[in-house]
Amino acid sequence: MAKPVPGVLAIFEHIDAACDAIKSLRAQGKRNFTVYSAAPNHELEEALGVTNSPVRLFTLIGGMTGCLAGVGMTFWMSLDWPLLVGGKPIATIPPYVVFMFELMVLIGALSTVAGLVLLSLTKRTTGLAYDPSFSDDRIGIFVPAVGGTGSEIERIVRDAGAVEVRNAA
């Protein structure tokens, strides 16, 4: 088990209250807090100022690599051992479009998943306080805090409308 991170865990029932808390925390200059929710939510994203995920680059680069791999594989393998079948050209584009397309989708999809995994690992989730209700209907905000800053954070989240506030480790 990862070592628990000390901090404040606030539990919210209402979306607007959670958004208010996020905005207040950001106004206070806090950036490294974690927000939990059961489903993605545009209001939360807006409050957090979420920008577009770079996972799309993985999709684009993976897709292009796959397409080029399709071109390279079919042409090289056809020319490596030229077999004349039915008088058709040895290496030709129309039948090979199938491979270009399939490999584009295959490698594009697999690199998207790889991108998702890698990018999700960029921010730690282990050791942060968590409550099972976050995968149900509650919204959670965990703010790492040491010493006296905890009480100020507690005041901010309570003012915004947190239904429960816990001090973690």
Binding site: Y36, L83, V105, A109, L110
Partner: protein, 357 residues
Amino acid sequence: MTVFAVMTAGLFPIIHIGRQWFFYWLLPYPNARFLWPNFKSPLIWDVFAISTYLTVSTTFLCVGLVPDIAAARDKMRGWRHKVYSFFSLGWKGTDNQWRHYTRAYLYLAALATPLVLSVHSVVSWDFAMSIIPGWHGTIFAPYFVAGAIYSGVGMVLTILIPLRKALKIEHMITDYHFDNLAKLTLLTGSILFYAYAMEYFIAWYSGNPFEQETFWRRAFGPMWWAGWTMIICNAFVSQLFWFRKIRTNLTALFVISIFVNIGMWFERYVIIVSSLSNDYDPYAWGQMTPTWADWGILLGSFGWFSMWFLLFARTFPVVAIQELKEMIPMPRLRREATDGQTRPRRPGNLRAHRRGL
């Protein structure tokens, strides 16, 4: 359902290649003779199309399941908690996870959607690229795509109607969904209607006696019963969905969906058996009689699909929990700042949300 259906579909080429232990000869791998597959052969297109389809559909399913498995994990105790914890891959629903997840899931969906068109087109080219009468038609790709969606929706209806009742999820899957599924059946059924008519027209217009004979035999030859079952179940029965009352009547939908399944099974039977049993050499003409092994393979494929589907329905959420939660408006402490009221609002139900209430 897609994943289990493709798993079943993938078994059939393996069963039919004869020497199953050499199935890997279909893949381009460096071998002792420096030989590569013939990339102009539709059989190799099919290997790539089906393996890509299986991999991408499985990936899409697994990625979609991760937040739902995490939700199940948080409700479980004991050994079940441990198992679901393992498969939830450390999902906690943090803002960073959702940020990448929503985009990645969108791109996976965008990649998987054209794959549906490609896989059925490639399967149709397995037939259309040959010169067998009844198969050699340019209409095959759209015809197979429409047929695949038509039979897919039929199977969804057959499974969903009893499953919805058994799992008591009537409030999640409503008349609205069934109405739309029925409309999709009507659209694709009408495309099939057109395709059947066009096949007969092309056979007549081509002036090719072999092509004409094949289609004549499909309607009036020894396999007339299969040909007419296909046409009636696919082209005509789906036309009942012009009536709203039928589209929203679950009993009617279930019965029609059974006809759709029967019709689409016969479509494949007619295409494969009628063309192969009567091609260019009249000396080789004959009738196909299924043996006990054929029936066994058919029954086994039903069992194989049902086993995976039921195991899935027993173990994982059958409705995407997080997608449903995304649609439901979250409760608010205060109304929007514009009206200045502070009365808390109850979370609206799904149907009210959909109507824009």
